[in-house]
């Protein structure tokens, strides 16, 4: 520690100076300190990349690149029958949005090779005599071989294929006399846009990332390089110092909320259905929660590396996986569903979905809100306690 003090002396002096030169009033001093920290953050372009580049890039990637659904999946066909029925069906596959017939194979022996090469996800197999059997016996068997090494894609490929074939059967059949016609309505998201799913998830995740990761690292850095000691001997009280360190992030994270909502609205046409005011207030609550979590992490980690790993492995990964953002929670083993209960993102994501997509009011989110408030209180009181112990 001793020699860090020497090398960091200049910077420390600046901090002390900047704190001491401002008026005697605590509030004034605190504001000056926050202002200094704020400038410190926004003057570094690398920090700005994280603060605004990540949200923007993620929204664009999720909006334009990633899709949970399948589109234009390449498939191969082994048609040993070569009759009108098989050709019609192949055409139907090719014409759908889901599939594109990219390879015609000459024998079933080639199936393994092409699936192994990864260039197609499915092979349709028509045995020889398929058409004749279809006409004469009224029933013909065809094979679907699906690569399920990616089970999600595989399952979609299989079920869409089966649906296409069922549809084909129906078209061919003389219209049966009795029929039930379902009228289907997609609620909340009539066009089944991807954005509806990822915008709330991203908002939850990004706020957690910026607030918890950035603050925990910032505070730990001060500790690691010894400048925290200087701050502690300054006229500012410890909690004020922490406040000064995290307040700029509150502001910047709020900027991110606005950025995400604006992009959702103007780029993807996804407006906030419910009360914008309520959504913003809930966001502030969640940001506060994430900041207090960041402070808590910084009190338990000695080095930036530790803070980083706790934030990323301990917080980010579970937040991505167990918040119901990408992976549906209700299908997870019970153990994980219980774990997810103590993760703040899980609750916030429900709030955002409700207000933003369903347009429901506070009546539908008060429970979740309460959970967030209680969590914040717990995190703050634990870190206050830890912080005091460290000082004594």
């Amino acid at each position: 520690m001793k020699c860090f003090c020497e090398s960091q002396g200049v910077r420390k002096k600046q901090i002390v100076d900047s704190i001491q030169t401002f008026g005697a009033k605590t509030l004034h001093r605190l504001l000056a300190f926050i202002h200094k920290e704020f400038l410190h953050i926004i003057r570094d372009p690398r920090t700005l990349v994280i603060l605004f580049g990540i949200p923007a890039a993620q929204i664009l990637i999720f909006g334009y690149v990633i899709s949970m659904d399948i589109r234009e999946v390449q498939i191969a066909v082994v048609d040993l029958s070569r009759d009108t029925i098989s050709r019609q069906l192949i055409h139907k596959f090719d014409a759908s949005n889901y599939f594109r017939v990219s390879h015609m194979l000459n024998s079933v022996n080639e199936v393994e090779k092409i699936l192994k090469s990864g260039s197609v996800k499915e092979v349709l197999v028509f045995e020889s005599g398929f058409g004749t059997r279809f006409m004469r016996e009224g029933e013909a068997m065809m094979g679907l071989i699906v690569d399920t090494s990616e089970p999600n894609t595989g399952r979609l490929v299989a079920s869409y294929s089966e649906a296409l074939i069922a549809d084909f059967n129906r078209e061919l059949a003389m219209a049966g006399r009795l029929k039930i016609v379902p009228a289907v309505r997609m609620l909340y998201n009539p066009a089944l846009q991807n954005e509806y799913m990822f915008v709330p998830g991203l908002m939850t995740l990004i706020l957690m990332l910026i607030c918890a990761l950035m603050t925990s690292i910032t505070i730990t850095r001060e500790k690691e390089f010894g400048s925290m000691e200087v701050l502690l001997v300054s006229p500012l009280r410890p909690m004020q110092i922490i406040l000064g360190k995290v307040a700029p992030y509150l502001l910047l994270a709020f900027g991110d909320v606005l950025l995400i909502l604006a992009m959702a609205n103007f780029v993807f046409g996804l407006p906030v259905k419910g009360s914008l005011m309520l959504l913003l207030l809930e966001s502030v609550l969640y940001i506060g929660l994430a900041l207090s979590l960041g402070i808590l992490i910084s009190t338990v980690s000695k080095t930036m590396q530790q803070a980083m790993f706790i934030s990323l492995i301990g917080l980010m990964l579970p937040s991505i996986l167990l918040s119901g953002f990408i992976f549906p929670l209700e299908n997870m083993p019970l153990f994980y569903q219980i774990i997810s209960l103590i993760l703040p993102p899980r609750w916030f994501i429900i709030i955002v979905k409700n207000i933003m997509l369903k347009g429901t009011g506070f009546r539908f989110v008060w429970k979740e809100t309460l959970v967030l408030i209680v969590m914040t209180a717990i995190f703050i009181s634990i870190s206050a306690k830890k912080f005091k112990i460290r000082l004594e």
Binding site: D147, T148, N189, F309, N331
Partner: protein, 373 residues
Amino acid sequence: MPTLYYLLQKEFIQIRRNKFMARVIILVPIVQMLILVPAVTFDIKGIDLCVVDLDLSSTSRELVNALQGSQFFKVRRMTFSMQEAQNQMNRDEIDVILHIPTSFERNLMVNDAASLQLLINGINGALAQTTLVYFTGVITEFNRRIVMEHIVLKPVSASPQIVTRTRYWYNPELNYRIYMAPGILAILVTSIGFLLSGMNLVREKEIGTSEQINVTPIKKHEFILGKMIPFMVIGVVDLAFGLVLARLVYAMPFVGNLLLLVGFTLIYLLAVMGLGLFLSSFANTQQQYLFVCFFFMMIFILMSGIFTPAESMPAWAQQVNQLNPAAYFIRVVRMIVLKGSGISDVGWDMARLSLLAISTTVFASLKYKKTIS
């Protein structure tokens, strides 16, 4: 190169002595494999259905039974109020509302056609789409059955139909664990190669030791190799460790050639390390590097299609992925491990990834300066 020997000796002593680092290297694969892998599943165990049956006829009841009997739908609620059903949907307690209007059965018998309403929560588009596919399947089957049952007197020539036999290859049980395990391993290898190696270099800059190194006659490539090799070793060891865990815990098959996988992993590590070392020249503190690296890592991993179908990406994104090392790695790891793809299947990917690896390493060496600007 005796210099390299001394550098490697130093790096390994430092890594061994850093308790936290040692713990990370051993614990992270365990945690990821044991805790995260089972958590992630897209498996649809049941679609929660709320039935608003205003008809209460035998046909409507039969239809509900048909849905209940299918493996996908679970009838969670029965109510007579659409408002009530809608509220439940708002609270996320159900996914689908099936509304059967009054005189459903009468319409069907008299007019030969009856409508019913299906309301699906569309927020998760893919799930909604799948729900619809399943529902249509049940209705089609139900239609056929009632035609058979009710029109015995007017025999209709049975229309011909195609029967499918679907076979799932490589993962017949649609087991998500053996799909996720290689993906999670890929993230692990990426973090070691990209994040840790770059951090290590920037750390020397931040604490000042790089100055003492820069004033020695050490060659640039010696220094860079000295930084790369330890993390290559760690990366491969962690990969092997993870594979063994996946094997023991999830009975993940390993169909392919282990040597091919290790070779591919080394090329991948070279590519991401080159990139990491290149980026590290733009950062003066570990914090700055972490942020910049995290930004790229996130884009790489998301774009690689790790949890989402890569084939559905637009053409331009697939072109961009030609420059994304993670896209190659995640695809090829699964191909080798689960499908047993050989060198002839992954050869092209290997060649292109090697080109990427060479370029990033060359760039990193050129960019690395022994002077301070």
